[in-house]
Amino acid sequence: MLMSSVAVGGSKAPRSWRSWPQLFTWNNVLGSLALAAAYLLGVWVGIALTFEPIAVSTLWPPNALVLAALLLTRPRVWPLLIATVFPAHLAAEIFLGVPLDMALCWFASNVAEALIGAALILRLLGRMPRFDRVRDLSVFLFAGVVAAPILSSFLDAYFVYLIGWRYTGYWELWRVRLFSNALATLTLVPLVLIWFQTGTAQLWRGKAWKKLEAAALLASICIVSVLVFQRSHAPETAAVLMYAPLPLLMWAVIRHEPNVVALCVSIVALFAITGVLDGRGPFIARSTVDAAMAVQMFLIIAESSLLLLTASLGELRHARSAARRQEESLDLALGAARMGTWEWDFASNRLSWRIGRAGRSRLRTRTVPVAQMLTRVHADDRAGVQRAIDEALAGSGDGEVECRFVNRRGASQWITSRGKLLLDRFGNPRRMIGVYLDTTERKTQELQMRTHREQLAYLSRLSLMGELSGALAHELNQPLAAILLNAQAACVQIAAPNPNLRDITEMLRDIVADDQRAGEVIHRLRALFLKGVVQVRPLAVNECIREVLALERSYLLVAKVKTHVQLADNLPRVAADRVQLQQVLLNLIVNACEAMSADEPHERRLWIESMPGGHGKVDIVIRDSGPGIDDVDAIFEPFFSTKSTGIGLGLAVSRSIISAHGGRLRASRNQPRGATFRITLPMAAEDDQGETQSAAARGDQVS
């Protein structure tokens, strides 16, 4: 814990020279003293693990401890650590009877090793290594276990050669020291760093059975290590027995965190080395030096392999955990957006989908055969879904479809789905993936809004028809009156002594024609009065305009408005509901006539034109010579009215009708007087165009 305090203290220290006093904080000083104490302990352990007559230990902990301390602190704290370790080193060495010059040289080589290792690791990683990362571990193995011991061992062996204290040959010293320090670094640095990284708090966290398992594992490792390394074995079994702890170590690697692995490895190393020192265990050799060499190599190979495995598994766990977190975030986002994902595997012809659920951590994934899924699509939408699938498979590769799914209770759910086709490397369709959005709420609202809009439009239409009732009655009465008179005239003729059959035939012909005319009027009126379903279909606007003018003929007549009609030829059909478009036209014409009612009859003029609107649109323009509009925006507000009669909904409803058709209704002032209303409607789909409107571009003058 003190070490971690050092790390914290060091990390906070500013770089400028004025901050030097901050280096000597309690944390830093106590941390340094703790390192010195650990160093002394390390020397004692190292001496205990030293084979006579070689001056070098089998496992020399002090260097590894300094390296661990350097890695735990910021470089600017390093001088303090080294300065504190120096007296501890000197005291220990002199106490052990090492000559002063030799002790000084060893300090230099030990510190050099720790500094080389720490500097290289920081240089390559930029931070303390993590032992659950393969890259970090590789850097640690290269810099701390291989490069630093190799380089410092040259120095160390040279110092011994110079001073000549217990000199047994340069390369032998180099080799023994290299293995000793490499093993110490490999065993102790991960242990120290991992325990400082994770802290002791982790020991008390987690599930009880997991802690029990770890305790059982450690106990088993101790027992097996004692049985294997602390007892003498027959030469035949010795070579095999050294691998006995491996299953337990693998268990640690697979089931536990790196801290438990490091601890297990240290226990095995300790028992193995002490066993060799006592002349027991499977590492039997001609000399203790060879035995020490064997145990060192065994441990280095075993430990580095285990650490690599730990790192690989750690990365796998991290990747899994990241994937799980992403999945949870995705699920949360999908749930919040009322979305889900799906996948259709062509090999199995099954469809899996995941339902994002807000507020729940678990995803619901379901898989059904595609055919079964299709049976749940609403019968009216099935063809559309099949078409979208066929189009995606035929080449577009992706597509979007909106459909209803019917659940077992018969309730419908609106779904908007977007999919993408994935091909294998030969270009064959392999599967389709996609997302879907539950649009039931939006659809319901849209439906309600549409119903309201249609109801309002209907009421407005009824009100308009009320206003037009007089003119409409005239329109209907004309043919009826003629029929009656013709019929009565025919009766009189037939009763005459010499009936004129030619006259009678003409009368009957007129009756038929007038009856047809009256029928047409009734047919048109019926459509306007009926509260029918709105049916958006390809519609020829010119035909629609003519029908409206036929209905309003009497009205225009009474209003004494001179009407000029100019309909463009070859207009594309628009996608519209006939009755609603007629309602808008009727309303605009009535408004124009009413606006002109105060003018002198010869001044009352109305122009009705149809023309291409550009970008595949059609414009209908209704222009009058009235007094014009003061506020071109306010007139579309509901309940805005300049008339003494009417509720002022006509234009608001007209605009909403045109907007619902994807078009626009705009008003503008004319110069010097009058107003223009322009309806812009989008054309119907290309397939629905059929023959273009055959209206001649003639200047029809209706009245």
Partner: protein
């Protein structure tokens, strides 16, 4: 009223209506029942004709382009032509009835008007004495019996 008209000549009835079928059918009925019918498609045309040869009575449509029925009557009265006039309208409107009464219209008929009602209106105009005495109203002779109940 022209002095040139002889005795017992058929009664001349004018029909002023912009609607061709209405003019045609009304004229047929009149001719079938022994009247002399003259038809006009506008008020202006009728007024011009009245200058030289005014009819004995006239049926005028209320709603017409150009001059309306009311305006035609006003013009007639202004010119001193006092023939009896029946007004034909598509709607039975109290306001229109009042206007017609004020202008001295003989009667007000709503379309579709029954042929019998039209013939009765003629008879009524004749019997009121405002029609020239030398003219004959043949409908009263039973020619129109097939359509009378």
């Amino acid at each position: 009223m022209s002095a040139a008209q002889g005795p017992n000549r058929p009664l001349r009835v004018a029909v002023v209506d912009d609607e061709p079928t209405m003019r045609r059918s009304f004229a047929r009925l009149l001719r079938s029942t022994g009247y002399e019918a003259s038809v006009y498609s506008s008020g202006r045309e009728f007024l011009d004709a009245c200058q030289s040869k005014p009819p004995d009575c006239a049926f005028i449509d209320w709603q017409m382009p150009g001059l309306s029925g009311v305006e035609v009557i006003e013009h007639l009265r202004r010119r001193g032509i006092g023939i009896p006039v029946a007004m034909l309208a598509a709607i039975d409107d109290a306001e229109v009835r009042r206007t017609c009464t004020a202008l001295g219209t003989h009667c007000f008929l709503v379309k579709p008007a029954d042929g019998v009602a039209l013939l009765n209106a003629i008879e009524s105009m004749v019997s009121s004495g405002s029609v020239s005495s030398d003219a004959l109203a043949p409908a009263t002779n039973g020619v129109a019996a097939p359509i009378r109940k």
